[in-house]
């Protein structure tokens, strides 16, 4: 009976005990709401940047012209918001909280109170970060990487004073909040798997969240240590990161003020965190894509155990490759070779993943619902953005391309766009589970094609302006008349195109916003398992926000691996994990 969508769809009363709830569903939604705030602000900032690049003389009403330090503040806030508060929180903490417990057959996270504490720490971090915009001296302008020595000396210039302190405080809070969330996730996965949910049967999403939590635990602790050191450099006159004879405004600072440190040390510590961070952002999307492609193709995931292995491999290698961010910063060339090789090694498990995605969908009859479209979009961005990875992984090529828009194009395609497409796939896929209603397919398609086209139109040309030498973080490309400006002037038409495409990309999100608002109230009522999925979050007894006490004591058992579809039987042929397999059929598994 599980095979067919059940008739008599029930309206799930959404009894959301908001704010200080310890219910993991509520906390997951809270994380998603926080990410929504951050992404709205972050997109707005990026539009300001694009506007400034094509119209440098534009005077912002109530603010005046955008000065170089304003532009750097925009860059910094945009990067920090998107990296930390969108791409880390939404897939990992947001969907991780909403879906993970049910997917392993549990009704709760291991430490609900701690979970809420983690969210509120993160929320406080966002408030502090946004608040740093309004303090004297302005928001931090060091980029999301906060490279010293500028960031280590409060007197270095605008945006290095209180704004920088608040930035450091915000990220420290965020690191603590993420650490709490990771401990919770890891313990939940290890201890709360239901009966029959062996490690091999864990959905790949759970594996991805698990690996990302491991990475968070390792990486954010190191970041926290680095933040402490930088804070001491700023306020306790230590010299971990400030070099001897540091020059500030053409004045050599006395050695007594600061010691004998090295900005490179910060780069090592920061990127030891920063590189795993990008995998924390992308791994949940990879896991979700694997499961969704299988679901909508009605196929098992090709090489399931290999996919688990590649998830762990990508996580493991991701920790070892931080040095490729430092090719142009002054690295021993032999070390550069080692980092280059290890970085390119990540292409192997990544390629294995892409092959599995292709093999899963190859010659199937996919059901092109919106979540499937976004999953395919994820694969497309992962391939296109990933291909420039091995290019940048070579020190020689990186010499030229580092700090150009080529890098911006690379990471916006693979991390920002692939990550966001994973998020959209998750929202469209899980909306019926959470709200009990479908999102509109028509609006979803408009959203998908607009976003896909807009994203490619925005980020593909950045490869070209990058190859032409357009540097990152520059407020004005052709301000000073010289040879470089003449060279860059040739990219101006492309710049205009990128900016218009960016505005189009942002506008393409409006159908999505309207879709969510409209469908939450007036969407079609959803059936209990609308996508005929096999994983446990669709178990009738695990429905989120279900009426209190409705079969809440039912024992959850996983009888088989996920993705047990019967391709011959079309859309209706599948064996959910909670369906008891008749003894005579055991061989089939």
């Amino acid at each position: 009976m599980m095979g067919t969508p059940q008739s008599g769809a029930t309206v799930r009363p959404r009894k959301i005990r908001w704010l200080f709830s310890t219910d993991h569903h509520v906390i997951g939604l809270q994380y998603l709401a926080l990410a929504c705030v951050a992404v709205t602000v972050g997109v707005g900032l990026s539009l300001f940047m694009r506007l400034h690049l094509i119209a440098p003389d534009f005077v912002v009403p109530g603010h005046g012209p955008i000065l170089p330090e304003d532009y750097l503040a925009l860059v910094t806030l945009h990067g920090t918001l998107m990296l930390f508060f969108v791409l880390t929180t939404a897939p990992q903490s947001g969907f991780g909280n909403l879906i993970l417990p049910a997917q392993i057959g549990s009704r709760r996270m291991a430490f609900p109170g701690l979970n809420a504490a983690g969210f509120w720490t993160t929320a406080l971090a966002l408030v502090v970060l946004l608040g740093s915009t309004f303090v004297q001296g302005g928001a931090a302008i060091s980029g999301w990487t906060a490279y010293p020595p500028l960031s280590a000396i409060a007197a270095a210039g605008p945006g290095q004073g209180l704004g920088m302190d608040l930035w450091l405080g915000s990220i420290a809070l965020f690191a603590v909040g993420t650490g709490i969330a990771s401990v919770n996730t890891l313990t939940t996965v290890i201890r709360f798997r239901c009966e029959g949910m062996t490690w091999e049967r864990l959905p790949l999403t759970v594996w991805a969240w698990f690996t990302a939590a491991l990475l968070s635990l390792i990486a954010f602790s190191v970041l926290l240590a680095a933040l402490v050191l930088l804070f001491l450099d700023r306020h306790a006159a230590t010299g971990f990161f400030v070099p001897q004879g540091d020059v500030l405004s053409s004045v050599v600072r006395a050695a007594a003020v600061h010691g004998n440190g090295s900005p490179l040390l910060w780069l090592h510590l920061f990127w030891f965190f920063g590189h795993p961070e990008v995998y924390i952002a992308i791994l949940p999307g990879m896991g979700l894509t694997s499961m969704l492609l299988a679901n909508f193709s009605r196929r098992r995931v090709y090489a399931y155990q290999m996919m688990i292995a590649t998830t762990l491999l990508i996580g493991g290698l991701g920790i070892l490759v931080w040095g490729h961010h430092m090719f142009v910063a002054g690295l021993n060339p032999f070390v550069g070779t080692a980092f280059s090789i290890s970085t390119m090694a990540i292409a192997l498990p990544s390629a294995a993943k892409v092959l599995s995605w292709l093999a899963t969908t190859w010659r199937s009859r996919p059901h092109f619902a919106t979540p499937m479209l976004f999953s395919l979009g994820f694969v497309s961005f992962f391939v296109v953005g990933g291909l420039s990875g091995p290019i940048l992984a070579q020190p020689i090529l990186d010499q030229y391309l580092h700090n150009t828009f080529f890098v911006v194009a690379h990471f916006h395609l693979i991390m920002a766009m692939a990550g966001v497409f994973g998020l959209f796939a998750g929202v469209y896929y899980y909306f019926p589970l959470i709200a009990g209603r479908y999102l509109s397919e028509g609006l979803g398609r408009v959203h998908f094609w607009g976003t896909l086209g807009g994203a490619y139109a925005t980020f593909l040309p950045m490869h070209m302006t990058g190859l032409a030498g357009e540097p990152r973080h520059y407020a004005q490309l052709t301000g000073i008349p010289n040879a470089a400006a003449r060279l860059l002037a040739q990219t101006l038409p492309l710049q205009r195109h990128i900016s218009y495409a960016a505005f189009f990309l942002a506008a393409s999100q409006l159908p999505f916003v309207w879709n969510v608002i409209r469908s939450a109230r007036w969407g079609d009522l959803a059936q209990p398992n609308p996508w005929n999925a096999t994983t446990l979050e669709w178990h009738p007894a695990l429905a989120p926000f279900a009426e209190e006490g409705s079969s809440s004591d039912e024992q959850i058992v996983a009888y088989c691996s996920p993705c047990a579809y019967d391709p011959g039987a079309g859309w209706a042929g599948f064996t959910p994990q909670w369906q008891e397999i008749p003894a005579s059929n055991v061989k089939r598994e």
Binding site: L229, L232, G239, G259, N260, V586
Partner: protein, 261 residues
């Protein structure tokens, strides 16, 4: 229908009610206020392995909190790994001056001798906290509690917890003495690359010990305030493991400061 039924993998691996637990009280009862199993019968609630994960009794709860603590400590370990890596990098790095001479400014900070005493005190506190932890898991005491004979575990563990708190505070006071002695020799946080690390490491470790003392204090309060023995066990157990970790970490940090500067 085949002649031989093959049980599914899930069925074969399912722990059954006679898996060593006959309801004879080998496992302490789960105190959820609803039902106390007396054992004997095979009611559906008698085998805790048949319950959903997360509701399988005190042992599971204890292991969950312990595991969470260990993951948190693993993260914390990475914090110190980062700082110690920085220690070695800074120690071995220098710069070239105007005459192209290589200058390494690292002057090892002579550690005050009181640190040896402090280390001994902290080692002793690890012993006392282990005594407290073991007192919480005496089968005999737990049985007494079930029979309603007061809280023998709390009474036996309490002196050891208090002793640990006292020793912990003694260690911290000893550290402040060390800091004062260094300050008298005009060695401050900002004096030298090595003194950066001496203060950084001792301060961060002291903050961790303050957290540990807060945990021990919570355990002490919980010994009397909490009605459920498993909660008391968890409080003492986690506080003890945290304390052990910080003690072990200090041994490492102390050797680092004493011999590797």
């Amino acid at each position: 229908m085949p002649a031989i039924f093959t049980p599914t993998d899930t069925d074969r691996k399912r722990p059954h009610a006679d898996d060593g637990d006959h309801g004879s009280g080998r496992r302490p009862p789960y105190d959820d206020g609803l039902k106390r199993t007396g054992g004997g019968g095979d009611n559906d609630n008698d085998n805790w392995n048949d319950r959903p994960a997360g509701r399988r009794g005190p042992r599971e709860k204890l292991e969950r909190y312990r595991l969470g603590l260990f993951f948190a400590l693993a993260g914390d370990l990475m914090f110190f790994v980062a700082i110690i890596s920085t220690f070695f990098v800074t120690k071995s790095s220098g710069h070239f001056d105007a005459y192209d001479r290589y200058i390494n400014e690292w002057l090892p900070t002579a550690i005050p001798r009181i640190l040896w005493l402090n280390t001994a005190v902290l080692f002793l506190s690890s012993v006392t906290v282990e005594m407290a932890r073991r007192r919480m898991f005496h089968q005999f005491d737990v049985m007494e509690e079930w029979f309603g004979l007061g809280k023998p575990t709390a009474k036996r563990a309490m002196p050891w917890v208090i002793a640990t708190i006292v020793l912990g505070i003694a260690f911290l006071l000893g550290q402040t003495v060390a800091w004062r002695q260094l300050a008298q020799e005009h060695v401050f946080l900002k004096s030298n690359p090595s003194s950066h690390f001496f203060y950084l490491i001792t301060y961060t470790h002291a903050i961790h010990l303050l957290v540990g003392i807060a945990g021990l204090a919570m355990a002490l309060v919980g010994l009397f305030a909490s009605k459920q023995i498993e909660n008391r066990q968890i409080l003492v157990d986690c506080a003890a493991w945290y304390w052990h970790s910080m003690g072990f970490l200090w041994l490492f940090l102390f050797v680092l400061l004493a011999y590797f500067q």
